[in-house]
């Protein structure tokens, strides 16, 4: 798999399809770090493990480079989805970026609880089937079951938060400037742990239809809050109702932006929508 990638990168550089290739390099003292490969001699140091989220980095690098520079990124499934979402939000120009898609192993997918451990444009490796996150015990503890018990579990988990903003900074799609989480109106300042409902739910809801389930937020969290689980139920319902998954298609827009006439909900007529409690229609 590594050799294949090296050949491909070399070919790309020789044909001048890309000016630089963003990937991981094993440098001095075996330290692994991101690096832009632009000549053949460096390619010996190329590695593919561990998982490293390169999408946001690619976005920031592209902003500093001259406009005719074309960057290729060695990316996994989640990176590619994040790049597509950033293209949709006009943060990356589609012409300036190329992807070299590599597939994840099944072990990696089961660690990340990834439903789609392969990119849509797969160049190296073989796609393995994804994992259904709702089969996992950790997930079911927090997401399925009695409301009261789950509330207690969530409170216990979220009380550990030290408000380091790591979840926001590491997220490939959190790009707003200025950020609502730093605003006194929305999240109270000067208290640790962060306000549980306000901080975490506002952050989670902002990513409701754009979360690509890469798990960068929970990997960055210093106190190990499983933040990705907040997104799972929203992702699931978008998938079930509108057949939409973030980052699969560059052209398809989020169903939340259009009305029921353009993008109807499955198995539900428009007049049926009266009341969200659903037991009485107020008639």
């Amino acid at each position: 798999m590594l050799e294949e990638t090296k050949n491909m990168v070399q070919q790309m550089l020789e044909e001048k399809r890309a000016d630089g290739i963003l990937g991981l390099m094993k440098g001095q003292w075996n330290i692994i770090q991101p690096h832009i490969f632009s000549n053949r001699e460096e390619l010996e140091c190329l590695v593919l493990e561990p998982k490293w989220h390169l999408a946001k980095m690619a976005m920031k690098i592209l902003r500093t480079l001259p406009p005719d520079y074309r960057l290729a990124v060695i990316c996994r499934g989640c990176d590619e989805r994040a790049i597509f979402e950033l293209i949709k939000r006009n943060q990356i120009e589609k012409e300036k970026i190329l992807t070299i898609g590599i597939a994840c192993s099944y072990e990696q997918a089961s660690v990340c609880l990834c439903q789609r451990p392969y990119p849509t444009k797969l160049d190296v490796g073989e796609a393995c089937s994804g994992v259904d996150p709702f089969d996992d015990e950790r997930v079911r503890d927090l997401l399925v079951g009695d409301d009261r018990e789950r509330m207690e579990r969530w409170v216990k988990v979220l009380k550990r938060c030290i408000k380091c903003y790591g979840c926001r900074n590491s997220c490939p799609i959190c790009i707003c400037e200025p950020c609502k989480l730093e605003d006194e109106v929305w999240v109270r300042k000067g208290s640790i742990p962060a306000e549980m409902i306000a901080f975490h739910l506002i952050r989670a809801f902002h990513l409701s239809d754009t979360c690509v389930a890469c798990g960068a937020c929970q990997e960055a969290c210093p106190v190990g809050i499983p933040l990705m689980l907040l997104q799972l139920s929203m992702r699931k319902s978008l998938q079930e109702k509108y057949d939409y998954e973030a980052g699969i298609d560059v052209e398809k827009k989020s169903p939340v932006l259009s009305d029921f006439l353009d993008e109807p909900e499955k198995d539900r007529d428009i007049p049926a929508w009266v009341n969200s409690l659903r037991e009485d229609d107020g008639s």
Partner: protein
């Protein structure tokens, strides 16, 4: 005189009412002196699409027990089907509230059900009963820091 400290607090409810539907019902209820539970406040909005989900989250975080969003009936919006978008958004928010155990019942989204005064009163009464049955949000809400 003794103050009963353990007495359960009356549920507090915040209503975002669309100017063209829910607010007319609320106005009418006041004018016709319909008997209503007293524990709600109404915030008029031009259209329900103005109601940010963040505002609802903020309300729950500040100790409000339930939020009601009232809009025109689906298909009767004055602003190019803006309430369709609001429905989609608020449904997603409901999923998020469900995932954390707060429960989607805390947020009632109701469209075209509160145009008349008696309808408005009915919706509010039912919702207050419902909120009273739910468990408290106390563990979630952080106490306000002391001011010195």
């Amino acid at each position: 005189m003794t103050v009963e400290k353990n007495k359960a607090r009356e549920p507090r409810i915040l209503i975002f009412a669309c100017k063209w539907c829910g607010l007319i019902g609320a106005d009418g209820a006041g004018r016709n002196k319909v008997s209503l539970p007293l524990n709600f406040r109404v915030i008029p909005v031009e259209c329900v699409a103005f109601v940010e989900p963040d505002a609802i989250i903020r309300a729950l975080a500040s100790g409000i027990d339930g939020v009601v969003v009232m809009g025109c009936h689906v298909g009767g919006c004055r602003f190019n089907n803006a309430n369709h978008v609001a429905i989609k958004r608020l449904e997603l928010l409901g999923d998020l509230l469900d995932a954390t155990g707060i429960g989607r019942d805390r947020l009632m989204v109701s469209f075209g059900t509160a145009h008349e005064d008696y309808q408005f009163a009915d919706v509010i009464r039912k919702y207050v009963d419902r909120i009273a049955q739910l468990t408290t949000l106390e563990p979630w809400v952080m106490p306000r820091a002391k001011k010195y």
